[in-house]
Symmetry: C2
Amino acid sequence: MQHTDIVLLFSDSEKYVGTAVKVCGWVRTSAEVKPMTFIQINDGTTSLKNLQLTIDQTRFDDEEYKLRIKPALPVGTAVYAEGELVASERNVVELLVSEIRVLGECPGDYPLQKKKTSMEFLRTIPHLRLRTNTFKAVFTVRARLSYAIHKYFNENGYKYVQAPIITNSDCEGAGEMFRVTTQPWATDYKTEEEYNSEDYFGCKAGLAVSCQLEGEMAALGGLGRIYTFGPSFRAEHSNTARHVAEFWHVEPEVCFVDLDEIIEIGEDFIKFIIRDILESCKEELAFFDRFVEKGLLDKLNHVVNSEFAKVDYTEAVEILQKSRQKFEYPVYWGADLQSEHERYLTEEVYKRPVFLKNYPKEIKAFYMKQNPDGKTVAATDLLVPGIGEIIGCSERETDLEKLQQAMRDRNMPIEEYTRYLDTRRFGSVQHSGFGLGLDRMVMYVTGMTNIRDVLQFPRTYEHIY
Amino acid sequence: MQHTDIVLLFSDSEKYVGTAVKVCGWVRTSAEVKPMTFIQINDGTTSLKNLQLTIDQTRFDDEEYKLRIKPALPVGTAVYAEGELVASERNVVELLVSEIRVLGECPGDYPLQKKKTSMEFLRTIPHLRLRTNTFKAVFTVRARLSYAIHKYFNENGYKYVQAPIITNSDCEGAGEMFRVTTQPWATDYKTEEEYNSEDYFGCKAGLAVSCQLEGEMAALGGLGRIYTFGPSFRAEHSNTARHVAEFWHVEPEVCFVDLDEIIEIGEDFIKFIIRDILESCKEELAFFDRFVEKGLLDKLNHVVNSEFAKVDYTEAVEILQKSRQKFEYPVYWGADLQSEHERYLTEEVYKRPVFLKNYPKEIKAFYMKQNPDGKTVAATDLLVPGIGEIIGCSERETDLEKLQQAMRDRNMPIEEYTRYLDTRRFGSVQHSGFGLGLDRMVMYVTGMTNIRDVLQFPRTYEHIY
């Protein structure tokens, strides 16, 4: 029999069958059927598959055994064990224990003793909920999805740009920014200018709501095709199951492509990352399919195998108006579609993801390319069943005059955007990009229905969890 | 001859030799040797290698040619061209142009017209400097290094955790935190408690200086081995070539490993990411070796091929004291070593990277494992030639009592760390981790000597670039 001196990672178990190994992990369940004790442990490197420690009590001196296993090993106890790793029935590996000891006890007030606990309760212990099957699986999928995003862009010639989080511009012009300051809470400056000039950066600073403008500056003339991937912030005063104040944001920016081409890239990207987790996270997705969202696997397989619908906003409004569906909010040309409309289109009409394109310019941002009709912009949202909008995408306006006019129409301070506008003055070219909220994507692929359950420590209005 | 309808990415050029292609890019240089015109363009997908457009003026009607190429195409002009891609001498590909047109002009006030510009000047135009060879190369290496970091951890069973940036705890206890608020600049609350309770989160909030505590909570009992990788913030009032207020921070946390094992992991990690860019960024590193830091390639090859030194702090202090070197700051047991000491050890004594370990507990953070000697902690810094400290690393204290005592010794508010301390109450195990500043690592591998030149838009004291 071979011996290994390293502590086995459970994710490598199958390679070590027939070997004497050392393992560490936390107790998930434990049962005694005299003279045997069976303990399931997990070391975190697998989310759902545990390792069974099989203890033949007769192999131990009675006193010694009691000393080590006390009456029993409660859930959450950390243990070290040695023994031979063998393949048992049903393709599971188990460890025939020759040595065991407790590394860290887990006392009776451990909040995860009970098998069934509610999501609401688990939100009150975010530092411990990663120890449950559901959250191990959610965060395993989230990690892999993030890696797939990096893989997609790196394998397709994009460069990762880490744009600053602290900013003095407001990309969306929505004014929902957090201020960043080192000033004491109470100040007696006479004017806001004085307050700002005395602050850490010598000017007013806030947290970025988007890195798009910095992404455009990096792509245009410099790196050609880039992506940013980091946290973005919105100080929205809403408490819904889809909104958080701090979320992770993926924003590619691609030169020399128009709206139809960026739509193709977006579709290719979404299919790539879903295909990746379908292959890499089989166990976790099967778990979600069984316990969280029935039909999840069918839904995801359908997405990677179907061509996404592409529909004009104008046509979508007509479809909604002609439908017999009762909506809470009215539908008319020029209206910003609500989640109920988006979900009706993707779930009932098209039954697959839909790129809705060419929105009225009044409801979209200043940087979007103005269409020749004078009424719409080359913008598109990707709507998916169960969620609604998941990607916001557009071709950008490249004409300096039109861009400045759009800013004036929105009362934006043009002088604060000199650098951004320089990209339109010096070698301006066609370019397009999109933004994906990672957290909503994690919800979509796991079936979790509250965004608070896909972030380790969610930050929401009135709440630092 | 084959035709392709897609716009060629320059990084794919070699695949398309002998094909009729479409290209887009920005003019880097342009020269006329009648009847030929030679224009070097770049599309950002390669940092240094340009594509040569070769125009035989006799192939164009005279009027038409002037219309398209006006007198000349200034640097920074965006162009579209079609033609046949051919291999020319010296393993370079060029395009025999059959069609060319200007996409975006670049007027005479373009700040990057001159070939030689100073780093100081380029810092005043951070939105345009990515268009220069040096910065294209810096940000190409930065992007690839970031991807290599993700690859290393994903290929070794670590899960990416996106810890929150907005926090209400101060990991290092250093008090150099930015406040995050939505309160108006001038307030007339009577107390700070009132101010905080009326704020967005209902409590005081700031920007994370480290994600280590969240990383420990994710690893212990949950995911086993994790890494965080995102921005961290320090409101330090210092203006040096090594300090920024916002930097990118990689922080792995690994259960069941001690100080010596995490040192091995750190060494393996550093060698992996350097080896990766030595292979993936040959052109860029050759450029830095030639123009930025002579001997850079030798330095990096030496690092991947040498075993890092491991030295006790106590021994290092003796070596420094016995040396005949004049230091600005005194050296004695208990002193926090300065950059001059660190560089002397790594550059003069060991001539390779050095892990300095077992520091006096008074100069290190509360969470580090206390050694049996009662005087030192199981902490180590990795020192590299030219930079000094690049990784801060430690085994963490797992004993609840000792950890709480270390917090009391530092006057820390223990009651604010209940969640963190829970990891020591419920199944506590040995674990270790380290922190690497990405920006300093980019400096190290490119030879750039000012941290402001490795961030797209650096944020420093009194400056939002």
